[in-house]
């Protein structure tokens, strides 16, 4: 009998440091499966962010760069401009991409840089210990919004996928989640589609993955999944926000 379940080649043998119940491991695996299935491991360069997934470079077995906080899209731009044949993905959290790195992601998307951004949105800063993110929900308590996010004071959470989809440059922008198996299948399809657009030198692609943070939310993993479904997905609806095909129809 052959193996029915094995570790993708694009993942290393290292155990991850992620908290129990965190979805980073699932997202890593989906990316690695897509890399394996496309047979592109030998020409893929990943870019790790600053945040919980700063050590992502230890968990993938392909070339990797580690960026400064928020700057992964600029590094990806540098690579793709000088080596368009390489497959490049950034892996960024919400503090990294939606706060300090907002400028870099907007301009990379607007230039139509042909790399793939995997954007993990769990509505909080994880690695630094649970501070408020630009994506933190109204009234959500964090260590820097102890009374709950006051939207009159700091504004509403940023919907990154919708914001980027508003740009006029063709792109593939989608929002997915991996909190249940049915979502995982769709998320993997979306990642594969994003990589396919890149391989075809077609457009910029971003897959936002709505995620959880049981540790910093102060919940059990199970409760955190419920909170994602009830609260986050209501504000951050899943689905494709923009495809290059839909852009072509418009123009």
């Amino acid at each position: 009998m052959g193996k029915t379940f094995a570790k993708p080649e694009a993942l290393s043998d290292q155990h991850t440091h992620y908290c129990p119940g965190c979805t980073h491991g699932v997202i890593h695996r989906l990316i690695a499966e897509v890399i394996d299935e496309m047979g592109i491991r030998g020409r893929t360069v990943g870019i790790a962010p600053v945040g919980c997934s700063v050590l992502a470079y230890n968990y993938f077995d392909c070339d990797f760069q580690e960026a400064a906080h928020g700057r992964a899209p600029a590094m990806a731009t540098g690579i793709k401009r000088v080596r368009p044949d390489l497959m490049v993905f950034t892996y960024q959290g919400d503090g990294d991409l939606a706060s300090i790195g907002m400028g870099e992601i907007v301009h990379a998307a607007n230039r139509g840089e042909k790399f793939t951004a995997i954007f993990v949105n769990n509505a909080i800063y994880g690695m630094t210990g649970g501070q408020m993110a630009p994506t933190t929900m109204p009234q959500q308590r964090t260590t820097t919004s102890p009374a709950g996010r006051d939207v009159a004071d700091v504004g509403m959470p940023i919907k990154v996928a919708e914001l980027l989809a508003a740009l006029q440059t063709p792109a593939y922008i989608t929002r997915q989640t991996v909190i249940k198996p049915k979502y995982i299948k769709r998320a993997k399809k979306a990642i594969a589609r994003a990589f396919a657009y890149q391989a075809a030198h077609r457009c910029f692609s971003l897959v936002e993955v709505v995620s959880n943070c049981p540790t910093n939310w102060g919940m059990t993993p199970l409760d955190s999944i419920g909170w994602v479904e009830d609260q986050l997905l209501a504000y951050y609806p899943l689905g494709d926000k923009k495809t290059p095909e839909s852009d072509e129809e418009v123009s």
Binding site: R41, G42, R43, T44, V45, I47, A48, V54, L55, Y57, D61, C62, D63, F64, Q65, E66, A67, A68, R71, A74, M75, A76, T77, G78, I79, R81, V82, R83, D85, L86, G103, E104, H107
Partner: protein
């Protein structure tokens, strides 16, 4: 090859191409925007990469990403822009990637002015970003030397796997002089397969490469810093450059000056000589590594009783002159900044006064 009359900024752009660097990312800022304007036209002609980034912050990381996957790459900016790139410079230096940064300095601090200045000496030579790091810093005094230094910067960056900075000023960028592009300075890029993230297939390897600057283990980070330190010591041993001017005579004072300012000093020294006053000059061509030994020897001459650091800043290089002289004679400073460039007459007066005092 015949000489051509070129503006410093344009010559710098052309020199990079002649050096085999076909990748340029930049953000416009006076007084060096002509580099970007020149390369916007020129890079497509040579099948090269030109990209105007959204900010100097982003440009710094475009350089990092491109350098980390093994490409020859460079950028140009001016003082406030270099401040924004300094974050990336810290990362690039830690990650040991070769790249070339040109700073055509303008007056500061703050938004400052747009006229020539040398106020970024500390920023360039002491590590303008966070952490223990150094750039290899070269300071041209003419358009021709800017061309040669740009061409030499790429092999030097690759030799040390460290960013090289060319530190010019507004005049270096804006003035025109006849230049030629020496063929003998064209050096083939080094093989970067042992470290660059150029894709495993590219280098026919099944071992992945990782470019990073994170060392959570203090022992590992200390060891990495020691490795960088040894690299800087090697620069000091192998690649110090300077020009000695009028050091054969019985000079009474030694001027230390670099870049545009040193040209003014050269004229002042010639005029003083005609009046019977002998003054010598050491012109550092590398600001890091600094010509410590040359200055120490030069002030050791019998009649030399004074060293003067003359800079278009409020006294930055003078600290390196002091640590070179090490008390062998008094070390003084003279300078102006903000776009004021001292004239030869001023320098002559200063030298006479200080020698009389």
């Amino acid at each position: 090859m015949a000489k051509v009359l070129m503006k410093g900024n344009e010559a710098i752009g052309e020199a990079a191409i002649r050096a085999g660097c076909l990748n340029y990312f930049a953000y416009p800022i006076t007084p060096q925007s002509e580099v970007a304007e020149y390369l916007a036209k020129r890079m497509p002609e040579v099948d090269g990469v030109f990209l105007q980034g959204e900010s100097e912050v982003a440009v710094g990381y475009m350089i990092f990403g491109a350098a980390a996957c093994g490409a020859r790459v460079f950028t140009t900016s001016s003082s406030p822009g270099i401040s924004l790139m300094s974050e990336a410079l810290s990362y690039i230096t830690c990650a040991q990637c070769p790249a070339v940064f040109v700073n055509i300095m303008r007056g500061g601090p703050g938004l400052g002015g747009i006229l020539p200045s040398q106020g970024d000496y500390f920023q360039a030579t002491k590590g303008g970003g966070h952490g223990d790091y150094r750039l290899f810093v070269m300071a041209p005094d003419s358009v021709q030397e800017a061309v040669e230094m740009v061409m030499e910067a790429f092999p030097l960056a690759e030799k040390y796997r460290n960013p090289v900075m060319i530190l010019g000023d507004g005049l270096t960028g804006q003035m025109m002089e006849p230049v030629e592009f020496p063929d003998n300075l064209q050096k083939a890029p080094t093989n970067k397969d042992d470290w660059a993230t150029n894709g495993m297939d590219t280098r026919g390897s099944d071992k992945r490469n990782l470019v990073k600057s994170l060392f959570l283990d203090p022992t590992a980070l200390n060891a990495h810093n020691l490795l960088l330190k040894e690299k800087y010591a090697r620069m000091q041993r192998e690649d110090v450059r300077y020009e000695a001017y009028n050091t054969d005579g019985d000079y009474q004072a030694l001027i230390v000056s670099y870049g545009t300012m040193s040209r003014v000093c050269r004229t002042a020294i010639d005029n003083l000589k005609a009046d019977g006053v002998e003054v010598a000059m050491i012109r550092p061509q590398t600001l890091f590594p600094f010509p410590i030994d040359a200055i120490r020897q030069a002030v050791g001459r019998e009649h030399c009783r004074l060293a003067i650091s003359i800079e278009m800043s409020m006294g930055q290089m003078v600290e390196d002159v002091e640590r070179s002289v090490q008390g062998r004679c008094p070390v003084e400073w003279y300078g102006k900044c903000g776009g004021e460039v001292p004239t030869p007459e001023e320098i002559m007066d200063v030298v006479r006064e200080r020698l009389a005092g």
